[in-house]
Symmetry: C2
Subunit: 556 residues, 2 copies
């Protein structure tokens, strides 16, 4: 039996486009005499559809798509994910379903049991839990067909407050009693650089426990914040990995089931999981470039504009944007003020030259003076303070938005995760943008990715890598004036945000109590700013945005 796994890039609510993607894959599979082709979770509508699932029109289109796909299965059978209406009177209105379509019919429908409802996932908002477990039969093969988290039951997650577990056996425990020959899991599992091996471990555990081959089909594609890397996999019954898909790429690959049933031939070397720090940075880099590229494509934009300050964050954002969109589609704007150092211009120009990017200079000071001319009479003689710093940042934000509006571009936000965490940014100023590229990348990782980019040649001028970080909003300002050094700040933030460690746990990792308390206080007290932040490309297990919901009005 020939099974094809289709790792494709679906677009949310693009029923026609998604159908075409699948139809093309089916046509090719017919040519290759494939028996069964597998598409990912909620493939007909794309993942995550969010509250579109509450619209009846949307669900009807999903149902239509399944009918149309069933009509394409005269030769090749299809497994595909779609929402379906819950026929019961009580419980949530929908199920998250996997369909087996074959011989022009809907042969079987199976529902998802473990509905992730934590971080960016809200599946219980829409879907009812399944409690009936039945294998699917197809051309003499018994298939344990599951959806995403259904094979994650035994997996500990770092935040134990977010379990989605059953009280009884796992879905696979139920299914295995019906003697399946293979496991097929359809997924929509997003990328997280700090959990690169999590999925593989889960897949290995399942195979180790149930001793049958596992076909894992994951969605690829970026949907605003969420980046799906794909990284689909096929495992043999002995637990070895028979194949890995290229991450961040659309691919359809075909397997002869019989060839997978035996252990790999002697001498064949299995691809090991790369867990090096270098690989983590490489994958983060890939994810960010892919995230930018897919956002622009799906929004229907070609061109990006960003402010180039001479600092590390905007330099890296520029390089990533150039990789994603092409140097001809990125414009860098230098907007120095009276507080900017000379090297902010020279370094920026050098970077733009290295990349071959159009770099323009727009002056901030004349506009600043014009604003102050109107505002100083209203300021009632109050001394200079953070107001004037914010004003500079906001003038820059307005300039970028004007250029973006006039020339049909999207402003890329250049803030990093460390400053987003502690609230070092100006709302409606440097916090502007259609997409935040580095908002889930800590400053220390910003440097690591920059070094990775420079591994062969000096693309980002070394001076940018070497100079002390500064917002340059007042004379001689440095980040370290008011923040701990980033190699202290970032690990504290990681423990607090990603790991949700307690104050005492963080202190006992070796940090000063006052420093930890101050950092946590800064994070908590800037929730109101992050409420209005642009969508942030998520590359960790806990990014700012929909996956982290904090009250603004709270006593912190």
């Amino acid at each position: 039996m020939k099974i094809a796994i289709a790792q494709l890039n679906f677009r949310i609510a693009d029923f026609e486009g998604n159908l075409n993607l699948m139809k093309n894959a089916i046509t090719e599979a017919e040519r290759d005499e494939v028996d069964l082709i597998v598409f990912s979770e909620l493939a007909v509508c794309g993942y995550p559809p969010l509250d579109l699932l509450e619209q009846r029109d949307f669900i009807d289109k999903c149902t239509d798509s399944i009918q149309i796909l069933a009509g394409c299965t005269s030769k090749v059978a299809v497994i595909v994910g779609a929402p379906v209406i819950n026929p019961n009177e009580k419980g949530k209105k929908l199920y998250n379903a996997a369909f087996l379509l074959s011989d022009l019919n809907i042969e079987a429908v199976r529902y998802k049991t473990l509905l992730p409802t934590y971080d960016i996932f809200d599946e219980y908002r829409y879907f009812e839990k399944n409690f009936e477990f039945k294998i699917v039969q197809f051309r003499g093969i018994n298939i344990a067909l599951t959806i995403c988290e259904d094979i994650w039951d035994d997996q500990p997650v770092e935040n134990t407050f977010s379990r989605t577990r059953l009280y009884t056996d796992s879905p696979m425990d139920f299914l295995i009693r019906q003697h399946p020959d293979i496991m097929i899991n359809i997924s929509a599992s997003p990328f997280a650089a700090n959990r690169l091996n999590a999925r593989e471990e889960v897949l290995r555990q399942n195979v180790a426990k149930y001793r049958i081959p596992l076909f894992y089909c994951n969605q690829v594609g970026a949907n605003t914040e969420l980046i799906f890397d794909g990284s689909s996999m096929v495992l043999r019954p002995d637990g070895s990995i028979a194949d890995r898909f290229t991450p961040f790429e659309e691919e359809v690959r075909i397997y002869v089931l019989e060839n997978l049933m035996n252990p790999p031939e002697a001498g064949a070397t299995e691809t090991e999981t790369n867990l090096s720090e270098e690989y983590r940075i490489e994958m983060m880099h890939k994810a960010l470039v892919f995230g930018i590229k897919d956002y622009f494509r799906k929004m229907g934009f070609q061109r990006a504009v960003l402010g180039l300050s001479g600092g590390m964050d905007s330099a890296l954002t520029l390089v990533l944007a150039a990789e994603a969109l092409g140097v001809e589609n990125v414009i860098a704007i230098m907007m120095p003020s009276r507080y900017s150092s000379d090297h902010s211009i020279t370094d920026s120009v050098k970077l733009a030259e290295n990349l071959g990017i159009n770099c323009r200079l727009v002056k901030v000071d004349p506009v600043m003076d014009s604003f102050l001319g109107q505002l100083i009479p209203e300021f009632g003689g109050l001394p200079e303070d953070v107001t004037e710093e914010n004003l500079q940042a906001r003038i820059r934000g307005v300039i970028l938005m004007a250029l973006a509006n006039k020339m049909n571009m999207i402003v890329l936000n250049t803030s990093n995760k460390s400053e987003a965490a502690v609230g070092y940014g100006t709302l409606y100023g440097d916090m502007n943008g259609g997409l935040s590229v580095l908002g889930d990348v800590y400053k220390t990782d910003v440097y690591a990715i920059a070094r990775y980019i420079n591994r062969i040649a000096e693309i980002i001028p070394y001076n940018i890598l070497l100079k002390a970080p500064s917002a340059e909003l007042r004379p001689g300002q440095k980040d370290s004036d008011s923040l701990p050094e980033y190699d202290v700040l970032d690990p504290i933030l990681y423990q607090y945000i990603e790991m949700k460690d307690t104050l005492n746990a963080i202190i006992s990792s070796g940090f000063q109590k006052e420093v930890v308390e101050r950092v946590i206080s800064l994070v908590n007290r800037s929730e109101y700013k992050r409420f209005q932040t642009p969508p942030i490309l998520r590359v960790s297990s806990k990014a700012f945005g929909l996956g982290r919901r904090m009250p603004i009005v709270a006593r912190y």
Copy 2:
């Protein structure tokens, strides 16, 4: 037996403050020889705590609070809501619990069963469902103690995609078999002007079904977007309403249980629910004023600033802010441009005079010219377009933010729900603000509230009510140039957003197909703007913000 219901204003994460509120109420209850005092759902930490529930430190403080409260129950027993750790190994880590504290002990703990996971509610993100039902005994009285949604099981909700139901009997069906004498329900149920009678109907249905008295204790207070009106109630076994609490106010009231067991005395008239249009507008007005007031108090700010355009939205926002904060704490800024009509100033000045509010004028044109001086060389000869309109709006936004920063004020956003829905607003311009006052109020309701405010005297100049709505961003511009009239637009929006009706259902309500399609398309295509919107005071069953989660990258 004397039972006190405490409708109090808890602040999220303010453990000390919340404890003090409750301790004071207990002390007073002791004086009045009360047997049992009832506080609302999750009272120890305030509702909604959101992802603070995932922090171990936060949960420990909740546990400590319960211990401290137990120590206050030597005379008066306490019923109070708090999260508790789920002792089971599987399932979500927490329960949403109701404690009975008495004689310095934790006498009983009961868990919530029906966990709302729709709209702004994410309870299944944090809490495990309860499936064990047991009444609570207290001084010879059997109490059916439930939490919020647990008594809503039989209630149809307009959006049938969002049910949180059991497959079996409701929690009260289970409890009634144990012969309770009374029902006590502790709640955190937010205000919605379009569902004013929903809660009362549910309470009446429960009493009609179970024929015992019902004490309903709801939280009061605004927590950023969410406004809790309280409106606690007590019902007699015959279904009549024995008492209603004042909405939007903290109150503790005491009841002698024996007096409630009989029907009301002959001649006593029961307060009827007021479902008039006038009352809906009155309540919306109250909710908005309360929402502003509590936001400022809890954020620790006294003063607000807003832009006064001469239009209806900013006029109403100014009046509401003045009511909430006092006229001395609100500053109105007029920022006319070359496109502003003369009446934009005269009407604004008249309004400010009527209120006795400090009204200042800051010019936009000089700053606009300064921006254009820098930008025109970069615009490459492209013609004037929406860029220049946005630029004006953004200059105004920057001016307001500068004044707010300098004088420690919060900018109030003045956009209404109709324009937020169709995306008529400029990001980082008129969409700025710490809080959106009217973002959940359709334009037709904006007028209705304005007429309500003017019911006795002309506070808002009639000319503002009478003139055609316009953004005044280009010569002679009117909203109706590009939008249907608001009495057509608003009902379409209501059907699409609040009711989630299909396209065909909206058309068959009597609207033109092309108009409906255009409006829906405008709503869908402006999701990216609303992603960065300020928190919006929620006064309906479906506001923009956390309660409505839509993908940005989707094919609309």
